[in-house]
């Protein structure tokens, strides 16, 4: 049913329709609205005999799901930022054990300095943890990706993170078509585990593997991930048949047919980029946009194919590999190996800084004129940095950098615009 609903609530409704059997959660903003609603639905008996565990940490939350999933239960949790890092050891472990857990990441920056707003630093930090990572463009996408995620995870015995921008999506009210139980049941078969802890047929799960076979075990995992690149388009087709709308997918193009310049990004910023593309198209700039919907496994060939006629690529990413630059752009560059295409890295929206259409347009034109520094930081206040560097030269005990920068900027209270 199409309704005006908060992103988190819509996602919680979608999860409930997928009938998980065990949910474990620990509070962290901005994912809390999702699990709050799920705790209510569980208590009301709307999710069968689902068990909702309020645990003592994110590490425990995922550990609970590791046990539950190995017992043949469909499992779900959600987290963000520090929470994802706190569970990092279990994140790798769940994937290594081949447990099809589905987890929402309400994307948020990582401290210090502590910052609760959106960027992609959290899921980027765990990008190589053997989880499939899907990024939602809007809340309809978020709802649909979660339903697809359970089917994808369970078909490959591989865990899936569905990443949605914290606040920008989780707390945004917009029209979303939340499907009904009949539709979801027809699309999502019951969980049939490949390994299960069963007293009738005892197995040892998670024992040690030495150098004799560790490479082979990891290679198998790599192959399973690459299979996701084949399985996912099938799931998207099947989804369209069941729900009469197209959602998800590895990557997609917007106004790319004759584009010289392609702006590549993930998540909710895609909407703003499409606006910038439309406005620049009106002035005769041949620019388009490519959305990466599946970041891990990275759809190298599919992305490359969408950039067939492009001579310039601008990767806008909400993360920063300090001391290096871009993360997504490095993957894009690898996908375009051997081709004569300029790849620019644009770091934008860190810690919740808004990404405006006008800044994007300006940046695209600067890139076209070969005037972008690499990596380029969108809307960077260079004066503040120069002042801070000067202060550091003069005073040894200069104190916390962040505090002084805010004083320089004369910011009182946090303004998110």
């Amino acid at each position: 049913m199409r309704m005006q609903i908060e992103g988190s609530q819509a996602v919680a409704d979608a999860i409930a329709l997928c009938q998980p059997e065990v949910i474990a959660a620990y509070p962290i903003s901005p994912q809390t609205h999702i699990v709050e609603r799920l705790s209510r639905k569980t208590k009301q008996g709307h999710i069968g005999r689902c068990q909702f565990l309020n645990v003592e940490s994110e590490f425990a939350a995922l550990s609970v799901l590791i046990g539950a999933s190995a017992s043949g239960a469909r499992t779900y949790t959600a987290t963000s930022s520090q929470g994802l890092l706190f569970m990092a050891e279990a994140v790798y472990n769940a994937a290594g054990l081949g447990l099809p857990i589905v987890m929402t990441i309400a994307n948020r920056a990582i401290g210090a300095p502590i910052n609760i707003w959106n960027d992609h630093s959290d899921s980027m930090a765990l990008r190589d943890a053997e989880w499939i990572q899907l990024f939602a463009e809007d809340n309809q996408d978020a709802v649909d990706l979660h339903i697809q995620a359970f089917r994808l995870a369970e078909s490959l015995s591989c865990p899936v993170m569905v990443c949605m921008d914290g606040y920008v999506l989780t707390h945004a009210y917009e029209p979303v078509d939340v499907p009904d139980a009949v539709q979801v049941n027809a699309y999502l078969p019951p969980y049939d585990p490949v390994q299960v802890l069963d007293p009738e047929r005892p197995v040892s799960i998670g024992a040690m593997v030495g150098p004799e076979a560790f490479t082979e075990v990891k290679y198998f995992s790599h192959q399973q991930h690459l299979r996701a690149l084949e399985v996912m388009p099938e799931l998207v087709e099947a989804f369209e048949q069941h729900f009469q709308r197209r959602s998800g997918g590895l990557c997609s193009a917007y106004r790319m047919e004759d584009a010289d310049i392609a702006v590549i990004a993930m998540g909710s910023v895609i909407g703003t980029i499409k606006d910038a593309v439309d406005e620049l198209r009106n002035t005769g700039v041949r620019v388009g946009c490519v959305k990466i919907g599946c970041y891990r496994p990275f759809p190298k060939f599919q992305v490359s194919a969408l950039l067939e006629k492009t001579t310039r690529v601008i990767v806008v990413e909400k993360d920063l590999a300090v001391g290096m630059g871009g993360i997504v752009s490095a993957d894009v560059q690898s996908a375009l190996q051997g081709r004569q295409i300029s790849v620019h890295t644009v770091i934008a929206g860190l810690g919740g800084r808004s990404i405006s259409t006008s800044s994007l347009k300006h940046m695209i034109l600067e890139a076209r004129a070969e005037r972008l520094t690499e990596p380029y930081f969108l809307d960077l206040n260079k004066t503040v940095i120069e002042q801070e560097l000067a202060r550091r030269r003069d005073i040894r005990r200069a104190g916390p950098v962040a505090e002084h920068m805010l004083q320089t900027m004369n910011v009182i209270g946090t303004k998110v615009s």
């Binding site: 645990v55 425990a60 046990g67 998670g206």
Partner: protein, 333 residues
């Protein structure tokens, strides 16, 4: 016949051990270990050291648990000696469904299994989590406390050998005062582990008010099996802390594992008790108290206390700990 001969009392235990021989007991009171149909949950052929107290403790406990649960058991294992020596693929010694995830999360993984079983209406299966003292009192302590606090339907077994043995004998929060480990070496002004550090996790478990808490020793098989069997019959969070010597880490003769474990109990240093819902309900009495030196002198980790010169102050402090246990738990009453 001589008068003295007729009044001689028959001893139902082996000399010096107080262990009743199974042959002298009726069928029903014999140990699970003595039965031909014991499950050998942790089977032979694993890679534990000679005289490993943990290997014995785990098999004793799990065979008793298997019998009590009618073989409906799932076990989770924290990283550590037990996990490493028992399980390398493809030579797993486990005859029961067994899972290892991480060092610090065994209680939470077990909570997840219990939750899945509840969701699937399987109330006939018992979930056990097990780990060494490092996994239990240190790195997994948060998850353990969470499992207790939620009263999840899990029996947690801690095999306490009083240090990180798997990584090569480093100090844990369960290492006793003055003990030498590789991170509390027998050098300097106060050699060995500082006195006043460490934590008593059975008491902390008790403070959670969970349905059942007990301590047990690998040297008292009847007592250990009875406590495990009792715990299997209880629902909710349960905790049994089993004292298991480590010949390698303690510097004791592998042939003396039982002797060392027994002396820990008989000296009062390791009190055996049971508690229900936060209240101690009984303790196992010491039948022949021994001075702590008898226990300590069998272990090179305490060698520095015996000098020369002998560290009489340290020995007195350890004796005071034992005496305090005897008073607190009423071990001589």
């Amino acid at each position: 016949m001589d008068e003295a001969m007729t009044t001689e009392r028959i001893k139902f235990y082996q000399t010096g051990t107080f262990t009743a021989g199974n042959r002298l007991l009726d069928e029903a009171t014999r140990t699970v270990q003595s039965r031909l149909d014991r499950t050998n949950s942790l089977n032979s052929g694993h890679r534990a050291c000679q005289g490993c107290g943990e290997a014995l403790g785990a098999r004793y406990a799990l065979d008793a648990a298997m019998r009590a649960s009618h073989n409906q058991l799932i076990a989770v294992n924290a990283t550590g000696c037990l996990e490493v020596f028992s399980s390398p693929y493809p030579e797993s010694a486990w005859q029961i469904p067994w899972m290892h995830s991480l060092f610090g999360n065994a209680p939470a993984v077990a909570s997840g299994i219990a939750a899945a079983l509840r969701a699937k209406r399987r109330d006939d299966v018992t979930v056990i989590a097990q780990g060494g003292d490092g996994a239990t009192v240190d790195i997994g302590f948060g998850c353990l406390s969470g499992m207790f606090e939620r009263n999840d339907d899990v029996l947690y077994l801690c095999y306490d050998n009083e240090a990180y043995m798997n990584t090569g004998i480093q100090r844990s929060g369960a290492t006793p005062p003055f003990a030498r480990t590789n991170t509390t070496q027998a050098v300097g002004e106060h050699p060995g582990n500082p006195i006043g550090n460490g934590k008593n996790v059975p008491r902390i478990a008790l403070a959670h008010g969970i349905p059942y808490v007990a301590t047990a020793s690998v040297a008292d098989l009847h007592d250990l099996e009875r406590k495990v069997t009792k715990a299997i019959g209880v629902r909710g969070a349960r905790y049994i802390h089993v004292h298991v010597p480590c010949p390698l880490g303690w510097g004791s003769d592998p042939a003396h594992t039982m002797k060392v474990a027994r002396l820990a109990v008989e000296s009062g240093l390791f009190p055996l008790f049971e508690a229900e819902f936060g209240k101690i309900i009984c303790s196992t009495p010491i039948r022949r108290k021994v001075p702590v030196e008898r226990y300590l002198e069998l272990q090179t980790r305490f060698k520095h206390l015996f000098g020369p010169p002998q560290d009489t102050e340290a020995l007195a402090a350890i004796q005071a700990m034992a005496d305090d246990n005897i008073a607190v738990y009423g071990l001589m009453e």
